[in-house]
Symmetry: C2
Subunit: 406 residues, 2 copies
Amino acid sequence: MTTAEIITTGAELLNGSVTNGHARVLGSMLGRLGIPLVRDTTVIDDPALIVSAIKQAVAKSDLVFITGGLGPTQDDITREALCEALDLKMSLNPDVLEHINKRYAQSGSRAMEGRERQAMVIDGADALLNPVGSAPGQRLDHQGGTIFVLPGPPSEFISMMQHHVLEWIAQHLLVGAAPVEKVFMLAGIGESEIVNRLRDHALVGSDIEVAFCAMPGRVELRLTSHNVVALEQAALQVAGHFGEHVYSDRRMAMEQVIGEKLLASGQTLGVAESCTGGLLGGRLTCVPGSSTWFKGGIISYADEVKVALLGVRESDLQEHGSVSCPVAEQMARGVCEKLGTDFGIGITGVAGPDGGSPDKPVGLVYIALAMPSGIEVQEDTFRGDREMIRESSVQRAMSQLWRALA
Amino acid sequence: MTTAEIITTGAELLNGSVTNGHARVLGSMLGRLGIPLVRDTTVIDDPALIVSAIKQAVAKSDLVFITGGLGPTQDDITREALCEALDLKMSLNPDVLEHINKRYAQSGSRAMEGRERQAMVIDGADALLNPVGSAPGQRLDHQGGTIFVLPGPPSEFISMMQHHVLEWIAQHLLVGAAPVEKVFMLAGIGESEIVNRLRDHALVGSDIEVAFCAMPGRVELRLTSHNVVALEQAALQVAGHFGEHVYSDRRMAMEQVIGEKLLASGQTLGVAESCTGGLLGGRLTCVPGSSTWFKGGIISYADEVKVALLGVRESDLQEHGSVSCPVAEQMARGVCEKLGTDFGIGITGVAGPDGGSPDKPVGLVYIALAMPSGIEVQEDTFRGDREMIRESSVQRAMSQLWRALA
């Protein structure tokens, strides 16, 4: 069975500067082709660590991706490490150099140093020209497997995958022996409760692998098997049993599901956000074409904005405080009125780390949903830090709307 | 020199379901203690891969973190893999079981299965009770090094680090021989231009390691050296030369820098967002205490919202289109007026993938900044996909405000 792995290099991925998203992107792309990504080794720009990672990867997997360290600077040592690990040589490729010179000319850069280094191609490898950056990639056959060397910046990595890698894989690698998977996205039910019920009701058989991933406000349940018939049967049972909690039977984000439902019903949505500060609007508008059903929102971070733009009553702010059920309600109603939408969501809460009190602790969030049939408010107390509380609020608000649309 | 590494397990980290943020969190925490995180090995729940990763990690690093796979289900095999890799035994710890039973009782779960598995502690290890979840962690001395086994869910991982790990490291590991680093965050200048200028002006000496990380709208420049005096000198030169582009000499986000400046000047900010849909507001309100200087905003995704809530002229929408300089201007001015803020940012653009035209291609974004001294509008054409274009817009808008506040 073909397996893939990725080696990612760069100190910035391990010192807290940035989050390493390559494994997610690659895993998702390869998953669609039936090839599992089994390991991601991320190392600092240290020759010994890179060489060791390459040796292990080629020993284990037929498809190895190496990203990062292809730039013009001295800390870009991936090419050299690959030569050392596999005892290969490289030489300057004039076509690649010309392409690099063109790219630098387009971007108006006068930087000369390092261009030759970037144009070094491993003997026997195919150079993969970079449509959105200067660093070219390389494809190399090695002992029956294939190695792709790709640039590290996410936009360049993705672009190279689309231009040079995915089609090559589809054409050259036999795919089919991979196990089949079924994914369910669930909201409003916890992981342990799902485990419990799966067992109590014997919903899956022994030849089916079950895996979970709990995220703020949602759980991904994944069934995998080589036995397609058993898998289909189990999937039907799971769908039947957890139906009310399943918001998608594909790996789909809640905002996409909501978008499809609103698009179908021809209804529109507006948001009034306090503690989430625009995150919900930002999430909903991730969905291409969301302008059809999402009209906009009001970020009422300050109380005076709640009053002036959403019509929240000052007396309620004074009596109940800005984090309260009546204020959430008036925010949701207010945004519906102001924007003329069918649905309105109002979120107000204590995201912390400061601002909590015994009555209203950090994590307390009120989410109101105004809809044609009336209004409902939900009180939650989320755990975690500021980021977690805001993320959970966004997810819960979307779940609430999804239930109303169901 | 003490080095650290992390092994992360879970199919969901490699199949596109979620982004693996552990290395970033851990690298940031350890970096503050002067301990570099040098490798992150992420593998699926496969015994052979986990065992191999553990063997290599303990051979290389004195501090090894293993996360994930500590839950109650069958795919949670980290404990077993650790025993196999290091030839250890484990046994049921009654205190841990009692704690787990309490946690499940609190959460109202009836799930019984797997509790005993979760209570298995490696002989000789210290159990680390989990303040926010059921899965306990473990700390284990092994051949002169230390292994921490921690739960995988991000909130639990972070909480365990804070409760059980960081203080232990501070108390038990001698730190000091680590190289010193200086970080500069730059905006308005590209990576290649920085490389160029560093060389042309001989701003850093040979005993200083230079590394870059280019992100949408900003570049992190990192100088590292064991020679503190040379590093200080180089840092002064870099600060002097790139001064106008340096928005922080620490690893700080632009939103924090802006927040500090607004806090100091006692001025306030509001945002009017179209293509970014709330992302800018969401980013600004990441900063704890942002309510002092951020009043809120209007997400004017639909044109009618631009007119009704921000006072954008219909004639300009018709004549110039919603993605245009006058509309951005009127959005920025409108939000200042509506919210009574000193500064207002208006963003309108074509985020794609659809909606582009020869005149107004995908990536075209207008960002207007209204301020006490007047208004300025910037036209940009960003590359990349919808997510990249929106992220670049947010970052560029913040840079524009930062320059105005400087």
